[in-house]
Amino acid sequence: MNLDSKIPEGPLSEKWSSHKFNMKLVNPANRRKYSVIVVGSGLAGGAAAASLAEQGYNVSCFCYQDSPRRAHSIAAQGGINASKNYQNDGDSVHRLFYDTVKGGDYRAREANVYRLAEVSSDIIDQCVANGVPFAREYGGLLANRSFGGAQVSRTFYARGQTGQQLLLGAYSALSKQIGLGKVKMYNRHEMLDLVKVDGHAKGIIVRNMATGEVSRHASDAVVLATGGYGNVFFLSTNAQGCNVTAAYRAHKRGAGMANPCYTQIHPTCIPVHGDKQSKLTLMSESLRNDGRIWTPKNAEVAAMIRKGETDPNTVAEDDRDYFLERKYPSFGNLAPRDISSRAAKEACDEGRGIASTGLGVFLDFRDAIKRDGKNTIKERYGNLFDMYQCITGDNPYETPMMIFPAVHYTMGGLWVDYNLESTIPGMFVGGEANFSDHGANRLGASALMQGLSDGYFILPYTVGNYLGEQGVAAAGKVTTEHPAFAEVEANVKARIDKFLTIGGTESPRSFHKRLGHIIWEQCGMARSKEGLEGAIKDLQALRKEFWTNLRVVGDADGINPELERAGRVADFIEFGELMCRDALMREESCGGHFRVEHQTEDGEALRDDENFAFAGVWEYKGDDVAPLLHKESLIYENVKLATRSYK
């Protein structure tokens, strides 16, 4: 497996501009001869499809939802970072770059992160130009707020619906191109496999989820922007349909999968209420700007609160443990996500958790309301408070919110080089689906930035460069008549038939829940050698059981939610095993990956830069063969590796 990262020569700040200059260009008149497939219509996919079409390429875009406007980017609440330094508080491209590398616990590629920080300002300009109604100050200038892991105000926001507004911006740009006929949009279509011809990605096989039809689509390049794999945990903040299938199928076709064990557990979610629950709801991290996180110091007081015998408002100041402020005085409640989540888990492990399950901590606005007034707090977080009340029935203006960590984002993903090209030539990966920018932990308000950076400003260049390198004679050469398409299509159909004919007794959802339980317990917030080894065995057994005892009702000729879930769960089970192997291999703690064997005396993550400053990239070797590990060394020329301290 070739892991040449293709980082351009030259100083960090000149790499991207000199790389752009060195790229092959495609003459505008020739662009219409090429076609590009984009899978996914979120921030990365939607923006890439729109931008490539604007440039003149023929684009086909696929999404599993009934409209591209529903991709899960829409659910991001808090904001998007950019190094505009509009607040004159010392921000710069270099600071955003540094914060992101440090926030990622020194496990991201320097050159990619620098480029991300560099184009961040262009993203804000672009979004404002296409009508995103960002929050403004009375003087008409853009407003900013601060976010976890940063000490400057660089986050732009549109109330608590920033992701929605950014996605609708990209969707409107995409819609324009659909209306012009430059993008052919395929709604309710799910990618089920990748087709390679002579080693290059040349198309995909999809299933129309409304009619059941399986069809072939050929192109000169393929872009996957299919999101993350958080639903491997069953319960996560992801949408119900989010899945790893497209990425995992590509992995099985030869694309390296990097750092799958880097998963982010978000500290501010609404606690679990029961076993029928289907998803966890995130409360924006921006709440931590004004809310104070605490549990009772005393486990007995916590027990009384759990039983409903003590009103949390009556707990005296001295009996409260504001544990983040205590442990991390300089960042306090704004400590990064991984650190905040683990601190909450520790408090609950000590029996000091609240909520009916004991798995919760308070996020209290009492002091903020006293200081700024209820109206100000309402102005800032009104919709989040309403959402909380809608779900829990509690009024957070009067009684403290309860929160608990939940799986939210996955930093790992398909390995890509500086061009966002995977180990399969011609297959590019953008957004959460790739592994590139966040290292072992993502900072708040950085996902939207990365999705749009990939979609608007990087893929349109690098895909064009690839097409230029292939030459205009190659454009459109491979069609769906090529035997490779027939072969992959037959595999896809056989797999669908298999699901429907196993004839067992257990539903896909039931398998999914069992899978999620194993992963959450053994590959969640704290991981151990013993636990992971057990999990790998359990997952292998679960896989066997799945393929012999699955029951899928209905048929393949139309909408069948059971069939859809079966396919996704089948891939999640295999992927979960890869995650555990990756976590087992990484004998250190970094970012979202915490190995109990590797911690300092006071329980902080202990990195091992000497042995693990690399991206772990897995090569698929067969269903019952162990995958092969490759390493991309991470070389830090501009940032000095240091122990991440938020104290």
Partner: protein, 257 residues
């Protein structure tokens, strides 16, 4: 422990667009009041699968009230009885033990049923495709602070842009009008300085597409605003009417393209 309830569900079942549909009656037991309406439907689905029957098909995705996928009429009201709440954010504590709940798909001619509770809402996408955008090629934008926008204007645009495109307004309207949906997008874009260049063209194109898709006209009934899970105001329809009239007059004297 959370309280639970037993319910009777009358659910619209329809095999495909061309087949006849009918209500089926199901019993669901031990629904916890903290679960969401869709989690209650998940329970029904698992029960049906257990019996070897096909679960109810319905659109859903984010389950946090923002993607706009869920689209079901509950006891005659799109998204159910709670104000400003999508079906996925509707919680069972608003129902009571022994209650009968009727669940059907959006009923509107432009939204044909695909299966059970799933309808085809692509006409809404086509309205946007015809003009619901502000042209700005990637890379062509000026600095974001170059055009100051008053807070009042930005807030108004945001109020309009909060639409999630679920189509409840259409389902609630006796005329199956899409004026609230279209009005919200027109109001959002036409009120911003960067959207003014294409204002007239946008307004005319979106209304033409809307009419062509078979949506009815607006007769100021107001059911749309009442059903809207994001409380989009009827003012957006007034804004659309105003901009449409202006655009038509201008177009009469000098075609806007």
């Amino acid at each position: 422990m959370e309280k639970t309830m037993d319910l009777t569900l009358k659910v619209w079942r329809q095999k495909s667009a061309n087949s006849m549909g009918a209500f089926e009656t199901y019993a669901v037991k031990d629904v916890s009041e903290g679960s969401s309406f869709l989690e209650m439907l998940d329970t029904l689905s698992e029960d049906l699968v257990e019996k070897g029957k096909e679960p109810v098909a319905f659109d859903h995705d984010c389950r946090e009230g923002i993607c706009g996928s869920c689209s079901m009429t509950i006891n005659g009201i799109p998204h159910g009885p709670e104000k400003a709440t999508t079906a996925c954010q509707l919680h069972m504590r608003h129902f009571h033990d022994g209650q009968t709940i009727t669940i059907e798909p959006w009923r509107a001619k432009p939204f044909p049923v695909i299966k059970d509770l799933v309808v085809d809402r692509s006409p809404l996408d086509r309205i946007i495709q015809s003009g619901g955008f502000i042209t700005s090629r990637a890379g062509s934008a000026v600095d974001a602070n170059a055009i100051p926008i008053s807070k009042a204007t930005a807030d108004y645009a945001m109020d309009a842009a909060a639409c999630i495109g679920c189509g409840a307004c259409v389902a609630a309207c006796p005329n199956a009008s899409a004026m609230l949906f279209t009005g919200a997008k027109v109001s959002h874009m036409n009120s911003l300085p960067q959207g003014k260049v294409e204002k007239d063209r946008r307004t005319l194109a979106m209304v033409t597409t809307m009419d062509g898709e078979g949506f009815g006209g607006c007769t100021n009934i107001g059911e749309c605003e009442a059903a809207c899970p994001k409380s989009i105001s009827l003012d957006m329809i007034a804004h659309l009417n105003r901009d449409y009239a202006t655009a038509q007059v201008k177009n009469f004297f000098k075609p806007v393209a």
